[in-house]
Amino acid sequence: MEIIKNKKEIERVKTHIIGLDENLEGGIPINHTVLFSGTAGTMKSSITFNILYNEALDGNTGLYLTLEQSTDSLLNHMVNLDFDLSKINLIVIPDISNIEKDIKSATKKGSLIIADLGAIRKKLKDTKFSSGSDWLNAIFNLIKKVAKSTDLKLFVLDSLAALYVLSKFEDPRSKLFFIFESLRDLNLTSYLISEAPYSRNNITEFGVEEYLADGVIQLQLTERYRKVTREISIVKMRTTNCNLDIFTLEYKNGKFQAMYGGKTPVI
């Protein structure tokens, strides 16, 4: 990592959430590893997919790695949210045997690559693996392969909770330290989806992810008079002077918006 001389030198990747980027000095600094933490239904997958989709439209390549939800289910959901997938170079990696071939067309700028490790896992269910085999290695080997053949800039892991189930986490602190350091070493801006427990004080599973991450964006559902509102807030973002207010999160006309920061919305 180079030490910058002027804050204007900090390059940022937009969250593509109207109202939030303005409160983040324009976006998330590049090469940051950021947690998107929230309970089910808070649109974590949609927000991170939206970042990769819009960045692909701007000519940047991203890798979306799903460990649980199948590619078909994810893409059907995104089409239902009015994402026009024909506008981007969408590549799906269905198998680990032909990755180089699968990502050949991703050499052109602005691709969104989806790898479904859940499907790959099903295909390999009868395979006997060598000592030391681990899904964490598979993830990093996949990222390295994609990065080697493309101009990979962005990475989404959906989700950390699924990774905890798949990989051995006997010593979670060291393992998480390894994950965060390795992502930084790959010079990627990474978004890790974390299934948060139902408490603002407990953002993550092991309680260390938020310290290791460069940034944490929390998503929550708030009940007011039987109406449930989605909310978004920046818990931390290194190298950024940000507004920590809670915003209402809305998705309208194909755009995410963060509104009413610090104010109670009109019900």
Partner: protein
């Protein structure tokens, strides 16, 4: 005249220095402690890329062998690209089949244990189901006149093999095993080892559990067996919960000593001050070498600038009938310490308020009076963090040093 010579000049009128005799550059990072044959004619170590190097005592290559199996593309995908071939466990050199020649037992992170001939030819191999990072115990565990090989794997099993690599028995622990087993020879032989969930296990020679003892964290250190207080044997073992434990033959706690950091490697039992009572020495991630009494009380310690991970070496390197202590630190230095330490007096009029018997005043400004501290005799900067020290008992005594680089250094004591 260097400081080392001066210090040795004060004692027994001996003058000498420690010099590097040779170094050897491997083609990848050396990832094990070096093993040395009894006659010092063979030095063996492993590397990150799965090679086993055998050198003579001048640092010249005798042979090199690569010990990893071929894998399918799918299998490779699930392995850590630049690490899966690594050999982490120190090789063991012993004549395991009674043919009058030494064999070399090497285990790899691919979970396979290999036995090689003195000339580097593969004799047999045995596969476990997970990574092996600890060396085997090679001993006649059942008193049948043959050596057995006892090794732990991260698959949670401790395996006992005969000298042809055939499984005799295996024992399932509650977690992976990264601690080298030790043998306690008493009324019945006991095999003692630690595990990743912090349990110390004792098994009989048939692999049946005799007792277990729980510590607070992972154990990677090999147990040390010795007589510390009476005629009975004791087990000394460090845990990553920062404590060093002394257990009796039945697994009952005799005492425990808390250091300020994780303990990774084997403690040493030695009567370093010739008082007829053994002392216990160990390194810790509180950056210190600790020297404690046979009752588990602090005698002295010596603080380096970073973790002391490898085991200390105790030897009389200059033949002055006094032992010296060598430690390697993650601060990139090897330290040689006086075996008796320094005593810092409570009060000495005229020289500030505290002083010491010997050494330099500036050494003790930050130390508490009325206590003992390690006395530095010599230190040597090396290329990187010190990961292993191995004593070489030749005519000119010395040691091999590994430093998480491709280089193996040999230092020897040379009389002026």
């Amino acid at each position: 005249m260097d400081i080392f010579s001066k210090l040795f000049g004060f004692k027994k009128e001996k003058r000498g220095k420690i010099v590097k005799e040779w170094d050897f550059l491997a083609d990848e990072t050396i990832t094990t402690n070096p093993a040395v044959s009894k006659d010092n004619s063979l030095i063996v170590f492993g590397t990150k890329n799965g090679k086993v190097y055998a050198l003579d005592n001048k640092g010249k290559i005798k042979w090199i062998i690569e010990v990893h199996k071929k894998l399918r593309k799918e299998e490779l995908f699930f392995l850590e690209e630049d690490k899966f071939k690594q050999i982490s466990a120190e090789p063991v050199i012993a004549d395991i089949n009674n043919d009058g020649q030494d064999e070399i037992v090497v285990s790899s992170e691919m979970g396979i244990i290999y036995t090689l001939s003195n000339g580097g030819k593969l004799l047999w191999s045995f596969s476990t189901q997970d990574v092996i990072t600890a060396s085997p115990l090679i001993a006649d565990i059942d008193n049948d006149g043959n050596l057995e090989i006892v090794i732990g794997s991260n698959d949670s099993f401790l395996y006992a093999l005969n000298n042809n690599g055939k499984l005799i028995w295996k024992f399932k622990a509650q977690s992976g095993i990264e601690s080298i087993p030790a043998i306690l020879r008493s009324v019945q032989n006991q095999i003692i080892f630690g595990s990743n969930d912090g349990t110390v296990y004792s098994l009989n020679d048939k692999g049946r559990l005799l007792w277990k003892f729980k510590t607070g964290d992972k154990i990677t250190a090999q147990p040390t067996i010795g007589r510390i207080d009476d005629d009975k044997l004791s087990i000394i073992i460090g845990s990553q919960d920062s404590c060093l434990y002394a257990l009796d033959e039945k697994g009952k706690l005799i005492w425990k000593y808390e250091s300020g950091g994780k303990i990774f490697s084997k403690a040493v039992i030695s009567d370093i001050d010739n008082d007829k009572r053994p002392e216990i020495l160990f390194g810790s991630c509180d950056d210190k070498l600790h020297v404690i009494s046979n009752r588990g009380n602090k005698i002295w310690d010596y603080e380096t600038n970073f973790w002391v991970v490898s085991s200390p070496l105790v030897m009389d390197i200059n033949n002055d009938n006094k032992l010296e202590i060598f430690i390697g630190s993650y601060d990139n230095y090897i330290y040689m310490l006086d075996s008796e330490g320094n005593f810092v007096l409570d009060y000495m009029p005229g020289i500030s308020s505290i002083t010491q018997q010997s050494g330099h005043y500036s050494d003790i400004i930050t130390k508490e009076p009325g206590d003992f501290y390690g006395k530095l005799l010599w230190k040597q900067k090396v290329d990187s963090i010190v990961t292993g020290l191995k004593f070489i008992k030749e005519k000119r005594k010395g040691m091999l040093v590994t430093t998480n680089t491709k280089k193996l250094d040999k230092f020897i004591y040379e009389e002026n």
